[in-house]
């Protein structure tokens, strides 16, 4: 199972979500006001992604 592991296909979305989450976690720590608002939006994205895929699976 070595030669052609599709790394970006398997881990791509996860890596993007991880970056978004980390930015969201840090931004509220670094400032108030807009920084907090950015944090809420960024951290809401992974939660929205979960809901999206769950809805998709129930529509099938």
């Amino acid at each position: 199972m070595t030669q052609s592991f599709p790394f970006s296909k398997v881990y791509g979305v996860a890596a993007v979500l991880a970056c978004i989450t980390i930015c969201g976690l840090l931004s509220a720590l670094l400032g108030d006001g807009l920084w907090d608002a950015f944090s809420w939006c960024a951290l809401a994205i992974p939660l929205v992604v979960i809901v999206m895929y769950l809805i998709k699976s129930y529509r099938r």
Binding site: M1, L29, P46, L47, I50, L54
Partner: protein
């Protein structure tokens, strides 16, 4: 790079580290959920009205409330006086012994404008306090805290090995595949993968900061052991401070030494919490980041001179930054709601993991892994298609 044997090792590590910590993690998640809203619940249960807005320097002197507390409890020892951050409330901590864990501990609270006692409960008596003690260390003190720290470490290992096996299992599937029509087990398997991978970073951060928080007692002991002996060398053979300055004088000395900092608490001379010859004044910065970072100031209890005003070493700083990242209390109510949603999702990942373990003694996945390891041993180049067999 990814032999079947290695994947099987990761898989086993993931399975066993998860199973060992799952029960304690469930306790953490379930007690943590209401604790996210600790402040809101406290305000709702016992609303307190103060004579003014939060202040930097309390209009009432620290000494006035310390004396009032002492009049009320002449037999108890005064441990500290502190001021709340978001409310003009002064706290006086007292106990029979030398630490806040001692018997007969009492927290007396006062309005920083009027010095009037504020109606409040004793620490450790409310439901929220009990949940916190359970969450932190299963009611078992420092030993319990260290145990929960170990469970958090297992959790972090389970997360990392979980990511490592996620790849091989998902190589034939699209991201977010949730198959509902085939079997209940497959459905839960897909949910476990989806919820787990999406909340991974949050869980890693909360798990790692949980380890840090569990180590707070030994870390502070470490700092004291490194800072105090050389400080006390010049006091050798002298009796503990007799006539001591007021806490307000100690606070002023600290403010003078660090004018940009805000005084948040003053620990009285005490061989365990400060030293027998010094007030330990806690100060912190005023920006969102520096407000998390405390600088201790040791003030000679007889002369009022500043003996030490140096930021904490890196390990205490790491601990200080770990706190908000664990509690989620640093970005207003919306962040707390998000924290709660991640917490609930983590519970679902844990429960689905337990279900996957219980649903079959020996799962097809494990048999497949064994088969592929065997094939590999025979120098076969066949690739396991784990996703299809899960």
């Amino acid at each position: 790079m990814m032999s079947a044997r290695r994947v099987r090792t990761w898989y086993r590590l993931h399975k066993w580290t998860s199973l060992l910590c799952t029960l304690f993690l469930l306790i953490s998640c379930l007690t943590g959920l209401p604790l996210i809203f600790h402040d809101e619940i406290d305000h709702l249960v016992s609303p307190v009205h103060f004579a003014g807005p939060p202040v930097d320097i309390p209009p009432v002197s620290f000494n006035a409330v310390v004396l009032a507390a002492k009049r009320q409890n002449p037999k108890l020892r005064t441990l500290f006086v502190s001021m709340e951050d978001d409310e003009p409330q002064l706290n006086v901590g007292m106990a029979n012994g030398l630490t806040v864990q001692s018997k007969g501990r009492k927290l007396l609270t006062y309005d920083a404008y009027t010095g009037a006692p504020v109606q409040s409960h004793q620490p450790g008596t409310t439901l929220m306090d009990k949940l916190l003690l359970l969450h932190r260390g299963l009611f078992a003190g420092v030993a319990g805290e260290l145990f929960m720290g170990l469970m958090a470490l297992l959790f972090v290992i389970a997360l990392i090995t979980g990511v490592l096996v996620y790849g091989p299992f998902m190589r034939r599937l699209d991201f977010g595949t949730v198959r509902r029509s085939r079997s209940r087990r497959l459905h839960w398997f897909d949910l476990h993968n989806l919820l787990g991978i999406v909340t991974l970073s949050w869980a890693l951060v909360v798990g790692a900061t949980g380890i840090m928080n569990a180590l707070s007692t030994p870390l502070f002991a470490m700092w004291r052991a490194s800072a105090v002996p050389q400080l006390l060398a010049s006091y050798a053979n002298r009796p503990p401070a007799q006539t001591i300055i007021t806490p307000d004088q100690a606070a002023d000395a600290a403010r003078h030494a660090l004018p940009q900092m805000k005084v948040t608490g003053i620990i009285f001379p005490n061989p365990v919490m400060s030293t027998t010859h010094h007030f330990l004044v806690y100060t912190k910065g005023r920006t969102p980041v520096t407000a998390r970072l405390f600088t201790p100031v040791l003030v000679d209890a007889e002369t009022g001179t500043v003996a030490l005003a140096k930021p904490f070493p890196w390990y205490i700083r790491t601990l200080e930054v770990s706190r908000p990242l664990h509690f989620g209390d640093y970005g207003g109510l919306p962040l707390k709601v998000i924290w709660a949603a991640f917490d609930v999702t983590t519970v679902l990942v844990l429960l689905s993991g337990v279900y996957l373990w219980l649903s079959k003694k020996r799962t097809p996945v494990e048999e497949e892994l064994d088969r592929f390891v065997h094939l590999e041993d025979l120098n076969s180049s066949i690739s396991p298609e784990l996703g299809a067999h899960a």
